[in-house]
Symmetry: C2
Subunit: 243 residues, 2 copies
């Protein structure tokens, strides 16, 4: 079973205060790019893997999706999701993505934001997601970029000219990483981009887009503190199609 | 026109002393992985973009290819390639890849080792390569990994625990990079992985494999000096198919 860190009191409290938890999708700086990778949602069957507070489920309903199933392992997040949702097209289900098997051939879109880097058996999950999509169905997902998950410590140092530089180490050594983001002992899985693509293609998907996301120049102009965030990518965004 | 750094006397002398120039493909540590990405070559028409000393052309001939065209901008490299080649199936042509237009629909495999990161108009080149492949034809190529091409300086520093770490900066700012590798003022183009894939997919290819190459544990055991080379990937290897 996946570590259910989101039900840890300290983690949940910290996570609930993040801009993306307070302001929803518009509080997530990568949302605009991720949204542009989505297919048209009107009349579609949508699956959200790691739905959290249900922001994307409600967005999909607003965009005209016919039905949306949001799945998450966290009882605390689903409790808030249900409280903030009033739409009969949206259903929430508590399940561990390590074993969750969505209905076969039932969905047009599988969406997942920042969940897959917690999953140990991602090959298994992607196989079940592939089977759950209709032919021509689409997967759109985001994960922490491997340049973030690789290093044992997440650190900046200045190069010889004083340029803020991100320290990369351990990139080729895939596997568990324990971080102390919002709480102690959060377990993530470091995978290289090549490995994510091996898993996607191996599950039968064809790649349609890959974005190494960092803030745009416009975003940095609006948030000058983010300037060093263009030194390295922060998220990896992927879209793929079931052939 | 591409900077023809390989005809610079200093660069050429330095490059000629590299293991990959002295020992050929077996002197290139990534070759084994790249070779495994190749289709069967027997009876095939092969194009080598940036063929250098012709090592891959002769390998393809040895693997039974029907014809091999090696293209390079460097007169010095082609002179040595011709001197070391005695096979009527292999032809060499001097051309600038920025404008080179291979024969349409003529090739089963387009191969390119460590050349595309010199190309300014890679979209244009990939479009011409796509057109030069037969339906079902394959492109296999390698470039310097963007984690190498991004930073203004290529530097290692120790993290707080003393771990050798690679400094990444400038990753999101694509474009020219001037380095002093083997000679002064070598001009390369930094592109993110996402951009390489946009260009490939945009040219009509579908991705079949992506490898972020660094030395294997076996290679590090044989060459202990390489241990820190697993901190970050060194080359990006790609294979793609013309639909």
């Amino acid at each position: 079973m996946t570590q259910n860190i989101y039900d840890d009191e300290t983690f949940f409290t910290g996570y609930s205060r993040l801009p993306r938890s307070v302001h929803g999708l518009d509080g997530a700086p990568e949302w605009k790019v991720l949204r542009a990778m989505l297919p048209a949602l009107a009349g579609r069957q949508v699956l959200d893997l790691g739905c959290g507070f249900g922001w994307f489920c409600r967005f999909a309903a607003g965009a005209g999706a016919a039905s949306i199933l949001g799945v998450d392992v966290s009882a605390k997040m689903l409790e808030r999701a249900r409280r903030e949702t009033d739409d009969s097209r949206i259903a929430y289900e508590r399940a561990d993505l390590e074993s969750f098997a969505p209905q076969v051939g039932a969905f047009d879109l599988a969406y997942s934001s920042l969940a897959f880097h917690y999953i140990a058996d991602l090959a298994g999950l992607l196989g079940r997601v592939h089977a759950a999509l209709k032919p021509g169905g689409v997967l759109v997902c985001s994960v922490e970029h491997p340049q973030l998950t690789a290093p044992a410590r997440q650190e900046w140092l200045a190069d010889s000219d004083g340029r803020a530089s991100w320290l990369v180490n351990g990139y080729l050594d895939e596997g568990e990483r324990v971080s102390n983001w919002l709480a102690e002992g959060v377990v993530k899985r470091h995978r290289m981009i090549g490995t994510y693509l091996d898993l996607l293609l191996g599950a039968g998907f064809s790649l349609t887009r890959l974005v190494e996301w960092g803030p745009s120049l416009e975003q940095v102009a609006a948030e000058p503190d983010w300037v060093r965030e263009r030194a390295r990518p922060f998220f990896l965004l992927l879209s793929a199609r079931r052939a």
